[in-house]
């Protein structure tokens, strides 16, 4: 069963069509990758899925529910969270406070104005669990702005994970991470619980083929090929437009 599905999704910016008739189905528990050359519309699709952009036409279904008209924060509450290609973190806050925000919001106490931060055990317990899972305990009291880039990338994922999503959208999680810090990041992604469905948007073919069990290729705003990794790798059209020599190597 598809947990996340788009039906004829289209987005125009004036005369430019950034997404055209995108019908994507992400199965429950899948490790699904969305790939495509630069400017293919991957980020537009993510922004449509998360509600940052509203589609010109088409529908988005999450768990069988039409979420096309919902605001971004409402989609998070229904169980879909994302990371960003370029870090979008709260630079003045610590990782602890940052994760605390997401956890309190999910537990419905994010709007409490009389209780002090840190006063609710359910929240702090869950923060601890996330800090440990993402190995952020050693830097949890530092300002986010001064963390090494790899740790910031981890925090990106930890923050999305703290929303306890059923569907997690990872937008180029390994982008820009130095080789030395890369392994920890990839191990963390690989260790995400299997009940969380992951849609990965990625450039890095090694990561895509080692991680994904299904791949969709987006070209010029349209879905081009959709299938298991072996099929996609063999498909001559994909080789032609996208993979080039990489697939042969």
């Amino acid at each position: 069963m598809a947990i996340l599905e788009t039906i004829g999704l289209e987005k125009r910016f004036g005369g430019i069509v950034a997404a055209r008739d995108v019908s994507l189905a992400v199965e429950k528990g899948a490790r699904h990758a969305l790939i495509g050359p630069n400017g293919a519309g991957k980020t537009t699709v993510i922004n449509l899925l998360t509600g940052v952009l509203k589609p010109t036409a088409g529908r988005i279904m999450l768990d069988g529910r039409d979420i096309t008209a919902l605001d971004p924060h409402q989609r998070v509450r229904l169980g879909m969270a994302r990371t960003f290609q370029i870090n979008q973190l709260f630079l003045d806050l610590t990782p602890l406070e940052t994760i605390g925000l997401a956890v309190s919001e999910r537990l419905g106490s994010g709007g409490d104005w009389w209780r002090l931060v840190g006063g609710k055990t359910a929240v702090t317990d869950e923060i601890v669990e996330i800090v440990e899972r993402f190995r952020l305990a050693d830097v949890m009291h530092e300002r986010t702005a001064i963390l090494p880039y790899g740790k910031q990338r981890l925090l990106e994922i930890a923050l999305a994970f703290a929303c306890r999503p059923h569907v997690l959208l990872l937008d180029e999680p390994a982008a820009g991470v130095p080789e030395a810090e890369r392994h920890e990041l990839l191990a963390t992604i690989a260790a995400l619980p299997t009940e969380v469905t992951v849609l990965l948007i990625e450039h890095d073919m090694d990561l895509v083929f080692s991680f994904a069990d299904r791949i969709s290729v987006l070209v010029n705003g349209s879905l081009f090929v959709d299938g298991a990794p072996e099929e996609v790798a063999r498909d001559p059209r994909v080789k032609a437009v996208y993979l080039g020599e990489e697939a042969d190597a």
Partner: protein, 347 residues
Amino acid sequence: MTPLADDVAAYLKRRARWSPLEIAFWIFAFATIWLFPGKYLIMKDTAILALFALSLDLILGYAGILSLGQAAFFGIAGYFSGLIAKYGIINEPVIALILGGLVAAALGFVTSFLVLRGSDLTRLMVTLGVSLMLGEVANRYSDITGGADGLQGVTVAPIFGLFRFDLYGHNGYVYCLIVLFVCFVIARRIVYSPFGLSLRAVKGNSLRAAAIGIPVKWRLVAMYTISAGFAGIAGALLTQTTAFCSLDVFSLDRSADLLLVLIIGGTGYLYGGLIGAVIYRFLQDWISTLTPQYWQFWIGLVLVVIVLVGRDRIGAANEAVRNTISRLWMWLMPRAAALRGAAPDGT
């Protein structure tokens, strides 16, 4: 709980702890009642200005909304409390004060939807526009508000039926100071709550805030409403302690003064409005006795210097002082805990 969980909870609560410096600040503030008995009037004005600046700091320092229209809330509550006292509808000043705050908060809630659209510049214009319109409405309906002559004949009953507003302004000052302190404690509680933290997140990165499930718009509406309520309480205080209300409660000068106060005192740590109000009011008083006609020249010069020297540098110095104090505090705390741990019932 695991040690890490204790650590996390303690660390998250750490910001909200009252520092010795804060306690000293408030002890001094209340000591002024006995220290400077001849200065009640200017100190009362300062307390009202401080509360008013605190209200702007809540939206500017914690939500990143720049406003030139706080006077709208100050003014509406000022007239409201004046009118209900004049016609004897509600005589108890404290209840009238709270109602004034609620009226201003209601106006804040309604206008918040206009303010949330657009950039800083549009916000400045919209907030300014709202206060100008209200000022003109008060001018137009002069049969109710007294128009340019101001609202005459306001008699404010004694507080709780016990404390009369005396000629020397003693009770008026104590009243303002207590109201300021109560409002400050509430504001402090709000900014250190999960709600307050979520606003800092919204201010820092609203895209991400929405992506972790924070309803950005509603949080801003809520903070704007709270801020308007505090501004209203300040306006009602002015009317109650002067038994008068005039059109200048809505003036642009009043909103602009407030920005100056926060530029002097700094935003986003709550004391900026308070310290700024003290410096601004006493500077104004001091310079205007030296040069009654041209005092604004010197105020202008001080502002230019502050901006040129750089808020950053002042902020950095401020930060350094606060860091030192908090480090000292952190250093003292484990020792205190160890001492408590040595007690027989300690765990």
